[in-house]
Symmetry: C2
DNA sequence: TTATTATTGTAACTTTGTCGCATTAATTAA
DNA sequence: TTAATTAATGCGACAAAGTTACAATAATAA
């Protein structure tokens, strides 16, 4: 029997932050946007809850931080599959690339349940700004 | 002017641990295999040095840990490209898949410099053991 | 053998994230 | 509307990952 969830003010606030952003956010981002008014443990718990519900997905980045993004296009059932993420090495923005991509084949004997693909590089904005 | 590197005993020990393993290792693994005799900061510094030299590459995993693996097949120049890694969710082994894979295309305006692709699932050994 | 300086160990520190527990508040029943 | 139930929150303590400053040590070159 699952615990039933409650629709609290804090959850709404976190969800608003997610909705208002077009890129993935790490804890620091949430803390800043919530003006430090919400406890760290609460933020993490709420985000983890959203992940468990399939509303949000996690992106683990080389800087050791975890980023969270709303699952808009992949809300359906297999929201764990086919995630392609992009990280700009200049402005450090992390975002979801919504275009489908070819999932790499594994050698015989392996079974895939999830795939995380993170491409680093320059986003369009930083490319123009640096003139690369 | 780059600092010149020195070939120290500690570096050799760390390199031996890497060579003796057929999977990627996290700090905890190094510490265990080195019997806790080497300082944490030293281990991290040496591993970071190997990464900078292109001998080793990093894999960042959802558990928040960083794994390190010898760059055997991709030793050449563009060792950052085309990495496909596999993580067994049962035995927690992380390894490099040496087969080439199709690098996903980015939308126009983006430039890729690196790609990290981590596939989670069951490895052949755990598949047989669990009878899945 | 000596001088130079890269490397190491130590300790302190930062950041990320988790956990137990008392308190608060959302929901349900009365 | 009020009272009862229990999910959710805030707090504090904690653990793990990783970094940094600095003094001591040890490769390398002279």
């Amino acid at each position: 029997m699952d615990k039933q969830k409650r629709n609290t003010k804090t959850k709404q606030l976190v969800m608003n932050v997610l909705s208002d952003s077009d890129s993935a956010l790490c804890y620091e981002d949430f803390d800043r946007r919530l003006s430090g008014k919400m406890d760290r443990a609460t933020v993490y718990r709420i985000l983890q809850g959203f992940c468990d519900e399939g509303k949000v997905h996690k992106i683990t980045v080389e800087n050791g931080r975890t980023y969270y993004a709303l699952c808009l296009h992949c809300q359906a059932k297999n929201h764990n599959d086919k995630h392609l993420h992009f990280r700009c090495v200049r402005c450090e923005t992390i975002l979801c690339i919504d275009e489908p991509f070819v999932i790499p084949a594994l050698p015989a004997g392996y079974r895939m349940t999830d795939i995380q693909c993170l491409i680093s590089g320059h986003c369009p904005n930083c490319l123009t700004e640096t003139g690369l």
